[in-house]
Each structure stands twice: as structure tokens, then as C-alpha cells.
């Protein structure tokens, strides 16, 4: 369970003054469901997810993740989550096995239990062949598999995924999407961000359309359709972002 309430983040920029990155966002994400944050680049998706992962401190509001407050109990929150970003790097000079061991141990796993878990993941993602090669020498697909395993090595109940398929080719993205769907079936609570409408529709049970730090619409895909009166994804998106008026004026 994730319960986000009035989550807000602003920065002071010397030149541009106060920048509101996230503006009083509230939503709920349930177990066994995928919640999507959909918005263009710079909408505040990454900032929101980073706050949920306790990497950034909220300026206002808070969120409760698996029964823990992200501000007051950040450490307990980090034990419950797996955080992944599509462009997130991996330690280049280590091997997948070393990376999984490291993060497994950080999460309190060790010994035979950890080794079994790692072997299972290698099996699941068909990684045995490159399990002991340095990340440097691996392809993007292999790296992304490693990144996913790194995120879930401790089998967290909550997954926070920041554009998990951005920059991936179709086969690799397919592996990632497959895993996300499996995790949903396994009863995990998943929040992901994307700027691709099709991905949101394909994966998410509920979607929050976010633009300029605010939630513009929230609901199932059908809700969004009836809200906007549009059928095509692109039109819904444009409608919700309020982009069509400007286009009309210009046109």
C-alpha cells in the first residue's frame, strides 16, 4: 500500500526563483495493482518517485509506504521498497552476482538464503551465462535484467519504477514488462512512471496524468476516456495536458 498525501517539492533557484516540481500530489496505490504516473518530461514524475524512495526530502506533505512514513521512518521505508530507474547505472566493474550479493546483504539477507535467492533470480531471468561477467562487458538487455534483479533481490512488497523501459529495445522492454505484470499477480504494490501512453494503458490499472507538478486526472483508462470524451490515447493525453487549446489558437 502506498498512500500519498499533498506531497510537494519546490526548489530555490538563484536565477529562476522558486521552482515547484511537485505540487500537492495525492493518490493511493494498492497491493496487487499497478499505478501509473503519466506525464511529459519535466512533469515531476521522477521527483515524486524519488521522494517516495526517500532519496529526496519532501518540502511539504508526506506519504505512507507499507505502514511507514517516508519522512519520519525513511529507513523502514527503504527496507520495503525496490527502486528502479530505466537509465540507472550499475557498478561497471562488478559482476551481476557481486551486485546482487551486495544489495541482498544490505537488505539483511545472507548465507545460503541469499545464494538460493540469487540462483532463483538467475534462473527466472535466464542470466546464468553472464552472471560472473563484469557489467562493462554486458549488453543493454543483460544490464537491465541485472538492474531488475538488483531491485527485487530482497523480494520487496513495494516496487517504485521510474521509467523502467525508457531507452530499451522491444525485446528487452518486453522482459521488463513481463516481470512487472508477474509482480502484480504476486500481489505487490507497484508505482511506475512513464511518458508513453501505450505503456501506461498496457500495464497500469490506474493512471494519474501529471503535468507541471499537478495531477490533472486520475482513474482507470476508461475513467480517463469518459472524462475527456476522447477515445484515442494521444487525444486523451493532449486534452488532459490542456495542450489542444494552444494548438487551436495557433492554428
Amino acid at each position: 500500500m502506498i498512500n500519498v498525501k499533498d506531497l510537494t517539492k519546490f526548489y530555490q533557484d538563484k536565477k529562476r526563483g522558486k521552482i515547484v516540481a511537485v505540487d500537492h500530489i495525492s493518490f493511493e496505490a494498492n497491493n496487487g495493482a499497478i499505478f501509473g504516473l503519466l506525464g511529459p518530461n519535466g512533469a515531476g514524475k521522477t521527483t515524486t518517485l524519488r521522494m517516495l524512495a526517500t532519496i529526496l526530502q519532501p518540502t511539504g506533505g508526506t506519504a505512507n509506504i507499507g505502514g511507514h512514513d517516508i519522512v519520519k521512518e525513511s529507513q523502514q521505508v527503504r527496507r520495503k521498497i525496490g527502486f528502479l530507474s530505466g537509465d540507472m547505472g550499475l557498478y561497471h566493474r562488478l559482476t551481476p552476482r557481486e551486485i546482487l550479493r551486495f544489495f541482498g546483504r544490505l537488505n539483511g539477507l545472507n548465507g545460503a538464503g541469499l545464494n538460493q535467492r540469487i540462483e532463483r533470480l538467475f534462473e527466472l531471468f535466464d542470466m546464468h551465462q553472464f552472471a560472473d561477467s563484469k557489467i562493462d562487458t554486458l549488453s543493454t538487455g543483460m544490464r537491465q535484467k541485472t538492474a531488475i534483479c538488483r531491485t527485487i533481490v530482497h523480494d520487496p512488497p513495494i516496487l517504485i519504477l521510474d521509467e523502467p523501459t525508457s531507452g530499451l529495445d522491444v525485446p528487452t522492454a518486453h522482459v521488463v514488462e513481463g516481470y512487472i505484470r508477474d509482480a502484480k499477480v504476486a500481489g505487490k504494490c507497484i508505482v511506475l512512471s512513464t511518458h508513453v501512453m501505450e505503456e501506461a494503458e498496457y500495464l497500469c490499472d490506474r493512471i494519474a496524468v501529471i503535468h507541471q507538478g499537478r495531477i490533472r486526472a486520475l482513474g482507470t483508462m476508461d475513467d480517463l476516456r469518459s472524462m475527456t470524451g476522447k477515445n484515442r490515447l494521444r487525444e486523451i493525453f493532449i486534452e488532459l495536458l490542456g495542450l489542444n487549446e494552444t494548438t487551436n489558437n495557433q492554428g
Binding site: 521498497i81 540507472m88 547505472g89 550499475l90 562488478l94 544490505l106 563484469k134
Partner: protein, 392 residues
């Protein structure tokens, strides 16, 4: 703060660094290579050429206006190839001969000039040989005259003067080595910490792996502490390498010194167990200080290159105060013990001289620890500051 987490981060970073060529070079190869090269170079070029200059047969242009006898033959005896010349000075200047000798003035008391290009080490040594030969000739003549006049020879030496150096050999070598090693320690310790520090902070930002560890159960203080400990290890290892390398090259270098017939330069390695232990102890706060400082500053940079451009000038600036140890006669007083880097390089020198005080030692240790603590607070603050950590 959990020790287990810090240990995990420490071991991971060590493994990561040991696979990085840049770190290995700055930590192991540089100190292991540079010092022996300096020593071997010194040994080879300086002392080898001195000893060669003592045996080599040089060309010598001789101009003799007066009837002074025996000059040419005694120079030839001293191993010079003498050939007559009208202008020995220009012969030397035009490099026609290595040296020149000009005997002028009255036959009774002529003046002898030796021409040598003193910017050349060999010529300097050779002109010394000419002087010795001419002095021998002079002495022989005086003795002859005395004999003829029936005066006993010992009138020439009514007494003898002898200089005795009371500095123990350890102190002699400490003066020379201590100054150098204090400076080198500072340089290598800062450099040893620099690349690991950059790699673990700015490097990690650049490779986008920072969020990964930040979203794990590890706390920020635990992460910084783990990283700082790795930088300390690197700095410390570098200094251990420096000591080993110094000891080895010193040992072999000294062999060269002895064979080069420079008895006044023969030195002992000034490292007894106590000195060694004291140096060891004083290295620790310096390693902590340099490691923490490097981590704090490198964390502010967003890329490896940017961090390098911050730290390289810092390295150069920090090395200048270390040069104080080259100044002779400077004592480590209470004020000086409060200046970071200066206090350390001076303390190392004094320890090697065997001429140090507990006050200087303790104050240096304490003040460096306090600076290290300040740097540590700074590093934690930088690491907790998300504006700096996620600067784009």
C-alpha cells in the same frame, strides 16, 4: 549507524576500486616507481659522473709564460693530457679542451689560473684535481726550500685542526631524507586518496549509481563513512608503499653512494622500531584528513572531470606548505603544530632526525584529528544535501 552496513559498503568499494586502473596506478605504481627512479637517477647520473670525473683523462690547454718548472709534468702525472696553448681560456670556452691552465706573472711568484666551465659537474671535479696536483707541487717545493735552508719540516705543521661531527649518522641522514620524505608523504597521501575519492563520489554520480545505494536500507552517514574509510585505506596504503619503496631504494641507492667514494654521504636508514611506530601513528590522522577532505570536495562535483579540476589545484596548493620541511633549522613549535600539512611534514622530518618533542607530536596529532573531524562533518553535510548530490 550499523557497523555491518558500513563494512558491506567498505568491502564493495574496495573490490570496485581494486578493479580500477587509475586507482591502482595512483596508489601502488606511483610510489613504487617514482621513488626508486629518483634514487637510481641520483645515484646513476650524479655519483656515477663524479666518480668518472675522478678517473677520466681530460684535455688541458696550458700556457706557460714564466720559467716555473714541473707544472706540465705534475699535471700529466695527475692524469691530464696537456697540450700547449696561447689562450687556455678561449680554448675552454670554445670547447677545444675540457680545462685550461695559465701560468703568468713573475718567475718568483707566478699566478696560476685554472679555467673550467663550472656549470659542468665533470669540469668542477677535474678542476679540483688540478688544484690538488698543483698544491702537491707547491708543498714539494716548500719542503725542498726548507731542506736547503736546513729548517726542519715540522715547522710547517705547528698544530693540526680536526672537525668532529657530533650528529649521529641517524641525524645526518634524517636531515636529508626526513625533509624529502615528509614532503613525499603529503604528496602521495593526498594523491592516493584523490582518485578513489573521485571515483566513489563524482564518478558514481556520473555513472548514475548513486540513487541505487541511496534507496537501499543503508543510511547516508553509513554510506559516507564507508566511502571515507576506503579513501583512508587508499591514502594509508599509498604511504605504506612510500615507506617500503623508500626503504628499498634507499638501501640500494646507498650502495651506489658508497662505491662512489663519497664517505661523507654514507648514511644509515634512520628507522628504528620506535621511529617507525611514531611515524605510523602520525600518518593516521593525516590519512583521515586527506581522505575526508577529498571525499567532501569530490562529492560536490557532478562528474569525474569536474572533480579532477577541483582537486588537482587543491593538491598543488596543499603541497606548497609541505615544502616547509625542506627549510633547515625550522622547529615544530606549538603554532606550527596547528597548521595542517605543515605540521605533518615537519613532524615526519623531526622524527627521522630523532630531534622531536612530545608536545609537537601530540599537538600535531590532535590538531590533525580535529581538522579531520571538521572535514568529516563537512562531508556528511555535503552528502545529505540533495541539491549538491543531485546537481544537474
Amino acid at each position: 549507524m550499523r557497523l555491518q552496513t558500513i563494512k558491506l559498503i567498505y568491502l564493495k568499494e574496495i573490490l570496485d576500486l581494486l578493479r580500477d586502473r587509475r586507482t591502482i596506478i595512483s596508489m601502488l605504481v606511483l610510489p613504487l616507481l617514482v621513488l626508486p627512479l629518483i634514487f637510481l637517477g641520483l645515484n646513476y647520473f650524479l655519483f656515477r659522473s663524479i666518480s668518472r670525473a675522478q678517473d677520466k683523462q681530460f684535455n688541458l690547454a696550458l700556457k706557460q709564460e714564466t720559467g716555473l718548472e714541473g707544472i706540465a709534468s705534475s699535471l700529466e702525472q695527475a692524469g691530464f693530457k696537456v697540450r700547449p696553448s696561447d689562450n687556455p681560456r678561449s680554448a675552454v670556452e670554445n670547447k677545444e679542451t675540457d680545462l685550461g691552465v695559465d701560468v703568468s706573472g713573475e718567475t718568483n711568484s707566478p699566478t696560476i689560473r685554472i679555467y673550467a666551465d663550472q656549470s659542468q659537474l665533470e669540469a668542477t671535479v677535474a678542476s679540483g684535481r688540478i688544484e690538488t696536483a698543483l698544491n702537491q707541487l707547491k708543498e714539494a717545493r716548500v719542503k725542498n726550500e726548507l731542506q736547503r735552508a736546513g729548517v726542519p719540516e715540522r715547522i710547517l705543521t705547528p698544530f693540526t685542526v680536526e672537525k668532529v661531527n657530533t650528529a649521529p649518522p641517524k641525524k645526518m641522514s634524517g636531515m636529508f631524507i626526513g625533509a624529502m620524505i615528509g614532503y613525499m608523504f603529503v604528496t602521495f597521501m593526498l594523491m592516493g586518496a584523490m582518485y578513489p575519492a573521485i571515483d566513489m563520489t563524482a564518478g558514481e554520480k556520473e555513472r548514475r549509481t548513486m540513487e541505487m545505494i541511496l534507496s537501499s536500507p543503508a543510511g547516508r552517514v553509513e554510506i559516507v563513512l564507508g566511502k571515507i574509510l576506503v579513501a583512508i585505506t587508499a591514502s594509508f596504503m599509498t604511504s605504506v608503499m612510500t615507506i617500503i619503496s623508500f626503504g628499498v631504494s634507499f638501501f640500494f641507492g646507498m650502495k651506489g653512494f658508497r662505491s662512489a667514494r663519497q664517505p661523507q654521504l654514507i648514511m644509515e636508514i634512520p628507522l628504528d622500531a620506535k621511529t617507525f611506530a611514531l611515524i605510523f601513528v602520525s600518518i593516521i590522522p593525516m590519512a583521515i584528513l586527506s581522505a575526508t577532505l577529498m571525499i567532501a570536495i569530490a562529492t560536490m562535483a557532478k562528474s569525474y572531470k569536474e572533480a579532477q579540476s577541483y582537486l588537482t589545484p587543491l593538491l598543488l596548493v596543499a603541497i606548497i606548505p609541505a615544502m616547509v620541511s625542506f627549510l633547515p633549522g625550522v622547529k615544530l613549535n606549538a603554532w606550527m603544530a596547528l597548521i595542517p600539512i605543515v605540521n605533518f611534514s615537519q613532524l615526519i622530518k623531526e622524527l627521522m632526525l630523532g630531534d622531536w618533542s612530545w608536545i609537537g607530536f601530540t599537538l600535531t596529532l590532535l590538531s590533525n584529528l580535529i581538522y579531520a573531524a571538521i572535514a568529516f562533518t563537512g562531508a556528511v553535510m555535503v552528502f545529505k544535501n540533495e541539491r549538491i548530490l543531485f546537481r544537474t
